[in-house]
């Protein structure tokens, strides 16, 4: 159990996907303009990321490894992720139209979120088991959600600031991300 907690802390704080490992930056910059959007994106990503890390583990261990085609993992994973996103969308539409209405618009964006492919690859590199993979995926998603939502709140405050002209827009957002990443450096060495 403590192993799993360590995996969670590591994925959320110490090796935060966005601020330390630079994964999932596109949605981080793109969907952090409003808190509500950020929360929607976080929920959708958490769902897909956790599921993707489990399914990609299964595909890797029970399809790619037995057939000795592990070098095809990139293609296999991207297909799995695309299928998963599609499946999630259909499932959501059928079971909960309301949820689909809230989260649906974020789903297509997740296919090209490199955090999803990244988590699948990192799980394999680390030799994680099925449960560990699931926890790692979940932790990575929580870490992503945490900084995305906090950043969205911060950005609303930032919009009021009198930023020098050349720094307005993506530039100051990037510099703010730098200072957030600086704060997260404090967690270095925790696990």
């Amino acid at each position: 159990m403590s192993e799993l907690i360590i995996i969670l802390i590591s994925a959320i704080l110490v090796n935060n996907f966005v601020l330390v490992q630079f994964l999932g930056l596109c949605p981080f910059m793109g969907s952090s303009n409003k808190i509500e959007t950020a929360i929607g994106m976080s929920a959708a990503t958490t769902f897909v990321l956790t599921l993707a890390s489990m399914v990609s583990y299964l595909v890797y261990q029970y399809l790619l490894v037995p057939l000795d085609i592990t070098w095809l993992r990139t293609i296999a994973f991207i297909v799995v992720i695309a299928a998963l996103v599609n499946f999630t969308e259909i499932l959501m539409l059928k079971t909960s139209p309301l949820l689909h209405k809230v989260l649906g618009i974020f789903l297509p964006l997740i296919t090209t979120n490199c955090a999803v492919l990244g988590v699948a690859l990192l799980n394999i590199n680390a030799g994680n088991s099925f449960v560990e993979s699931a926890f790692y995926g979940f932790g990575a998603a929580l870490g992503f959600s945490l900084v995305l939502v906090l950043f969205a709140a911060l950005r609303e405050k930032l919009n009021l600031a009198d930023v020098p002209a050349p720094f307005q827009g993506p530039s100051i957002a990037m510099i703010t991300a730098a200072l957030m990443s600086l704060a997260f450096m404090g967690f270095t060495g925790l696990v």
Binding site: L23, R73, I78, L121, A165, Q168, P170
Partner: protein, 232 residues
């Protein structure tokens, strides 16, 4: 025709630069820019994938219906990425060890799929390949610039360990700042974000200066023509 190529280059390298303006492919850009050699390795791989995926997409553009367009494009890109990965493992293994994980992630670089969907499906193969090359160079130039800046500020040197990419480059390392104690900040994650933010600001600043000088120029011309009219 020639004008077309010039405008493609201008768009890709400056006005619509994938890294600076569209902010695409930020993840590998920031993660692999701690040194010139890593940046160059990723730049090469990304550019290659861009050229070939654009070329193939353009070649088969009439055979692909809307329904299967996205899966086919993703398949093509993923195939080239896998090729790039295999080739890097075979011919630059030490480089692969240091940036390995970010090669497969080229698949999710939206700049590549974006070019396939918006450009290559509408243009002839050669033009598409050229666009791929220019987009790749636009992305690469920022990647390498960021790598050089971070390596210079972080260690005071440039081109260290170039031999893991180019075997003949074993003594390319140059010390720009002797007795520099190193600014570790530049090499750590916050440094990557900060330097990228500075580059974005620099682009805005240069654009502003250019725009100002153009309006000044136009104003001067207007003044001159008005003056000429008055005189006549």
């Amino acid at each position: 025709m020639n004008k077309n190529l010039t405008s493609i280059s201008k768009q890709a390298l400056w006005q619509n630069n994938p890294a600076l303006v569209q902010l695409l492919g930020l993840c590998p850009l920031l993660a692999v820019s701690a040194s010139v050699v890593n940046a160059l390795g990723l730049a090469l791989a990304t550019t290659m994938v861009l050229i070939f995926s654009n070329l193939i997409v353009s070649l088969i553009r009439h055979q692909v219906t809307d329904a299967i367009r996205l899966p086919v494009f993703v398949l093509i890109i993923a195939s080239f990425v896998t090729c790039a990965e295999l080739l890097m493992q075979a011919y630059a293994y030490s480089l692969y060890l240091s940036i390995g994980i970010f090669i497969p992630l080229i698949v999710t670089n939206c700049a590549i799929l974006g070019r396939a969907v918006t450009f290559a499906v509408k243009n002839s193969p050669l033009i598409s390949a050229f666009d791929g090359l220019m987009m790749g160079l636009g992305f690469s130039s920022i990647l390498i610039l960021l790598g050089a800046l971070r390596e210079l500020f972080g260690t005071g040197k440039l081109f260290a360990n170039m031999d893991i990419l180019l075997p003949m480059a074993s003594n390319w390392e140059i010390t720009i700042l002797p007795n520099y104690s190193g600014f570790l900040f530049a090499l750590l994650p916050p440094g990557a974000f900060l330097f990228m933010g500075m580059l974005l600001a620099l682009k805005n600043f240069i654009d502003k200066q250019l725009a100002d000088s153009i309006t000044k120029h136009q104003n001067a011309q207007q003044m001159a023509s008005r003056f000429a009219k008055d005189m006549s």
